[in-house]
């Protein structure tokens, strides 16, 4: 057990997995010699050698496609996409291949693959170093989608993802790669598909994940001073979705607000609003609210305006209570 940042926790998770299982390999652009542009895999190439920590050519399709082949023959590849914004050249391999191979082969083949990708804004990365593409993958049957918000979960979910027999897209909120420290146990597993109630409250349910959790928390604390008690749920896994936890909370509070960085339209917030409206309709006392990125590309200078920061979440919580 040690105090780790998310970067260190992820590294420790990969290191443990690579020690425990010789079939775990890491591949991606710059993951070896420099240990990844965010240093998540720093030192792993020295420790496990270039055959298991592979600096690949510049092609995300090649990285994921090759990793799928590895996964079909006994390896447990972790493929790093340098920024989630660069995952689209691998979209066909993820959506048409990784997601469908088990199904289309009647279960003969499986693809135990983890695709790690730093995602989200807050580092002044503009259009192409800030995106949150998780919704695309949540619409793709056959994939699981994970998004941790703290070092402990990051490691525990990563270990669970590596153990998982199916392809997992693992989004890492890079804005908080080094912002938070946590006690992180050795050999920890956090099961996929379980949300966490981060703060209990009876008035309104606030649903967030990734880096926005801290903004949600700040907003919750802000409105607490006005007497609004927020129940904050950290999704942790988007697919499978822990509907049970969400439903229980919304049935209790009768109100909910969802937060994500991705654009509003067809973002994962839409799925959450729909599911909860369908399931908790008679318990709802106010319209659901989504606080999200705008329906524009991710900007550079004005990213503080674009992001659903506490300054936008708190008014939404108040509004949820007004209605």
């Amino acid at each position: 057990m040690s105090e780790l940042t998310m970067v260190e926790a992820l590294r420790s998770g990969m290191r443990e997995a690579m020690h425990a299982d010789a079939s775990v390999v890491l591949l991606g652009e710059d993951v070896g010699r420099v240990g990844g542009v965010f240093r998540v895999s720093d030192g792993l190439r020295d420790e496990f050698g270039p055959a298991r920590v592979i600096d690949t050519p510049l092609s995300e399709g090649g990285i994921v496609g090759t990793a799928i082949g590895m996964a079909m023959h006994g390896l447990r590849p972790i493929a790093e996409i340098q920024f989630a914004d660069f995952i689209y050249p691998a979209f066909d391999q993820l959506v048409n291949e990784a997601a469908k191979i088990r199904y289309r082969s009647g279960g003969q083949f499986s693809v135990p693959l983890v695709v790690r990708a730093p995602y989200g804004g807050g580092i002044k990365g503009g259009h192409y170093h800030s995106q949150s593409p998780e919704a695309y993958f949540t619409h793709t049957a056959g994939l699981k989608v994970v998004c941790p918000s703290n070092p402990r979960d990051a490691k525990g979910l990563l270990r669970a993802a590596i153990d998982d027999p199916d392809p997992v897209i693992f989004f890492e909120p890079k804005r908080i790669y080094r912002a938070v420290r946590d006690e992180v146990p050795d050999e920890i597993r956090v099961p996929l598909g379980k949300a966490e109630i981060v703060r209990e409250g009876a008035d309104v349910t606030l649903i967030a994940y990734g880096a926005m959790l801290y903004e949600a928390l700040a907003a919750a604390e802000e409105v607490a001073r006005e007497g609004i008690e927020v129940e904050l749920v950290d999704l942790r896994t988007l697919i499978p979705l822990d509907l049970e936890t969400l439903e229980a909370s919304v049935n209790k509070t009768g109100r909910f607000v969802v937060v994500h960085e991705a654009p509003l339209t067809s973002g994962f917030g839409a799925e959450i609003v729909s599911r909860l409206t369908e399931r908790c309709f008679y318990a709802l006392e106010a319209p659901p609210i989504r606080v999200t990125g705008f329906d524009t590309p991710f900007p550079y200078t004005l990213e503080d305006v674009y992001l659903p920061l506490a300054r936008r979440i708190a008014p939404a919580l108040r509004k949820a209570m007004e209605d």
Binding site: N96, G106, P165, P240
Partner: protein
């Protein structure tokens, strides 16, 4: 193909692959040198080629009768497929395109299982989830056919890498067409195979067409084999309608792969004698002269002439073979056609190893409706 490779301007540009084709049999089936493949195997392969052809012809008829929705065959390319299949060791893998079912049958995949897939019935190894002729058999070390072109190629590279890391000395035979060389998967696979030095033999069935696009409009290179040089991968061009040449070239490429010598690119020059698939009408875009020119180079006829020259084949044997194959196919098709379709419940299996709650809810809904009647 078009495309100049030198330029008047003074600088010397990149140069092209040797246009020479590896051949063993001439167009009349005369062996230009002693074939490596023993005569019994030549006979067995001849039978396999004929069986493949008859299967395609029969299933095209079945499709026209509306008994199956779709078929895609390999008429004219049997030597390219089976010559490679014969060169495979049991531990080698196949990363198929879709015209290679004969290679899988050659490995012992049951005809019945193939037809179960064609009819999408409950016994289909793929549980009726994909279109006909989208085969897969882990037991026979053959990956799952994907319709998207070229996507199997990086899988072949990763699989070969996995074998290398695990200390297995086996090769991957990756199949694809001329059209696939333009795909993202091809570029990725060649790049990665080159630098990873994995044991993949890339078999490009250059059958002259990608649906309606002739190969010289697919790529301006003089030869598709020229692509390999740009990835640091050795290339060979081979007469793909010459079973004996294909076998020899494939054997060397696969052997190199098994010995850790890295990838080879093999361009198999052949011709898609039939339509692209039963959805296609090639008379709309192909010159009938071209079709008949290539009919004269048919790989089955060529091998038969060769066997006849060797006194290993005659009309009686031919007639007996056809009778046997036709009976087998007819019976097997009838059996597959009678089987029930997969259960509604099966729709929800294999999305993940364990179904999610969301899937279980959807399954309950579908089953309830199904029991409610109609449909």
């Amino acid at each position: 193909m078009l495309g100049n490779t030198e330029r008047p301007g003074g600088e010397r540009g990149a140069r092209a692959a040797d246009p020479d084709l590896v051949r063993v049999l001439d167009d009349e089936g005369r062996a230009m040198r002693k074939p490596v493949l023993p005569i019994e195997r030549r006979l067995a392969l001849y039978e396999a080629m004929v069986r493949s052809r008859r299967l395609d012809e029969r299933l095209e008829r079945v499709q026209r009768q509306g008994r199956i929705g779709f078929h895609i065959g390999s008429q004219g390319e049997e030597a390219a497929v089976l010559g490679v299949a014969e060169a495979l060791a049991p531990e080698d893998w196949i990363a198929p395109c879709y015209r290679e079912v004969a290679a899988l049958l050659h490995r012992g995949f049951p005809l019945e299982a193939h037809l179960d897939n064609v009819f999408g019935n409950a016994d289909d190894p793929n549980v009726g989830r994909q279109m006909p002729v989208h085969f897969a058999s882990r037991a026979h070390r053959c990956l799952s056919v994907s319709a998207p072109i070229g996507t199997q190629l990086p899988h072949a590279v990763g699989l070969a890498y996995a074998m290398k890391l695990r200390g297995e000395h086996a090769a991957v035979a990756a199949f694809f067409g001329d059209g696939a060389t333009s795909s993202q998967g091809f570029h990725d696979a060649m790049t990665f195979a080159g630098v990873m030095k994995v044991g993949v033999a890339f078999f490009c069935r250059n059958n002259g067409w990608a649906i309606s696009l002739p190969a010289h409009e697919q790529c301006a290179a003089r030869a598709l084999a020229d692509k390999a040089v740009g990835y640091g991968i050795p290339a060979v061009r081979c007469d793909g309608n010459d079973l004996l040449a294909v076998f020899e070239v494939a054997s060397r490429a696969l052997d190199t792969a098994r010995r850790g010598g890295g990838p080879t690119f093999v361009e198999l020059l052949t011709y898609r004698a039939g339509p692209h698939s039963t959805s296609d009408d090639p008379t709309r875009y192909r010159d009938p002269d071209e079709v008949s020119r290539w009919a004269a180079r048919d790989p089955i006829t060529r091998l038969r002439k060769h066997l006849e020259r060797e006194d290993a084949w005659d009309i009686d044997r031919e007639a007996a073979l056809l009778a046997r194959v036709d009976a087998e196919l007819k019976e097997a098709i009838a059996r597959a056609e009678k089987k029930p379709r997969p259960s509604v419940a099966s729709l929800f299996d294999d999305v993940y190893a364990e179904p999610t709650e969301a899937l279980l809810a959807q399954k309950r809904e579908a089953l309830a409706l199904d029991e409610g009647g109609e449909g």
